[in-house]
Symmetry: C2
Subunit: 339 residues, 2 copies
Amino acid sequence: MTHPTATSHCILTGDRPTGPLHLGHYVGSLRQRVALQQLHPQFVLIADLQGLTDNGSRPEKIASNILEVMADYLAVSIDPLRTTICLQSALPALAELTMLYMNIVTVSRVERNPTVKHEIQQKGFARSLPTGFLVYPISQAADITAFGADLVPVGDDQLPMIEQTNEIVHKMNSLMRAPVLRHCQALLSATGRLPGIDGSAKMSKSLGNTLTLSASEQEIQRAVSAMYTDPSHLRISDPGKIEGNVVFTYLDAFHHDCEKVAEMKAHYQQGGLGDRQCKNELEDCLQTLLAPIRERRQQLSADKETLLGILKQGSEKAHEHTQKTLLAVKRGLGLPVMF
Amino acid sequence: MTHPTATSHCILTGDRPTGPLHLGHYVGSLRQRVALQQLHPQFVLIADLQGLTDNGSRPEKIASNILEVMADYLAVSIDPLRTTICLQSALPALAELTMLYMNIVTVSRVERNPTVKHEIQQKGFARSLPTGFLVYPISQAADITAFGADLVPVGDDQLPMIEQTNEIVHKMNSLMRAPVLRHCQALLSATGRLPGIDGSAKMSKSLGNTLTLSASEQEIQRAVSAMYTDPSHLRISDPGKIEGNVVFTYLDAFHHDCEKVAEMKAHYQQGGLGDRQCKNELEDCLQTLLAPIRERRQQLSADKETLLGILKQGSEKAHEHTQKTLLAVKRGLGLPVMF
């Protein structure tokens, strides 16, 4: 992989290691990364520090999931020869840039960030809001800019993060003789967010409405069986609804044959196509997708040493890369660079 | 210098490089450091990152004062062979520990810190409060604990910082199998804060009521001439007041002969001792103190290379030292240590 220059694109993406990755991650980001690694230099950050911002008192939850996420990445074919997989806490430049950026962002500006506002409400923080959680948009700006990333794959709920990053880039560059930091843009996913198997918008382990990438054959079978369809579709001959029907949402997301899915939809809406048949089709499709992932994941998980070795190698490469940005920023601000 | 162990004391102190140091620093801390370096391992931190917390948009102000402060230190005989002088921005462990500690300190807790509350008011921040300024008590806790310092020379207005640091030490240690961080205590200065030459409590360059360590003979003369005494002491024969009389406060702080000062005070209170005579005594004393400091400072300032070299050497030593704490904390939390 060559280092990105001002003219070539560079991608930064990643996950908080708070649990094993699931089908929602697969559709929303992992699949895209496997495609993107063919096109551009790509860094994937296991964001353990960000994971700690709302798990400060449960470090073991974050620590124990780092290699799990690593196994997920490799199992879905993120290729460490094409994608640099690295650990956030191993990269001091990210913390050092955060410290510098915090001085040019006001508290009221981070409090106004819509994503953070929403998450604070969602997590029920109120007065117990950890300082690290409040400032995580600044830390994310440090991540993006340290890597010189100009393309950041995000969901549309994360757009305020990109906006805030570009504000920081603009302000920091204005303080230096010549601009050092690169502006970035969101790379919005073509697929929307995958709903939980119960039909709720959010797929989450705690709601029990998810399918992890390591799900067993039986778990996949049970999940598809329990999947929310059209509750008013009582007899096979009844016309059924597609909207909000999780089976069809999943068929759209996972089935390789769009035409077949279109035909099934038409048939279902007309009446005469049963839920069981649709579910069988989906189950086949998920079993086929997940069997090799599960198998690779099992092999990978058994060899922590190798996983750690790959993460170390990626982190070393990322360290070298992010240090360059840090040193350029320090020099730009006139701070002495000692070593 | 040997590294401090759990049984030996270790001191951390320092200054924000926002301008050249003055007589207030000399009395309040520099003099004490010269004495303490004979007794304990001592680290003196040039806190450029902390200086940026309220100068985020004026990095040149901080950058240009780093070597000025360095020259001040050496000029007053802080000895780099006994005291490790180091630069905050050169030590990634300080930023990395700040990131970790921010997750266990709530926003409402930092907002409640009396020192920060007072300073926010004093600096007139209100809605424009930089995030870095709000979290600087956490960053200070990172500094103190990274060095394993158990003695921290502070003024009594800084006691809440020590309290907050110990809270963080307690919480962090509770998250690890075995305690890693050391509790600290304040080392309160025997001398109170030196007033400005105009008698106001705060000595500050912007108020023009200070005397820097590099003050010329004429500047010293003018400053002592302009010094606030007892405005009701009109004739030499009148009894004069000692309280609030800056000349006597300075004689207390700088004159080597306490008995002589006590006699002068008695004479002044009784009547018969003129302000001019007292000021002559003080001027002699300040000229004698500052002449060699000014001369050394001039030589030192002319050789930036050497100053930078000493700062680099100290920072390298401090880096090695603070990295040990960072790695112990990471291991304690179960985070992988990559390199």
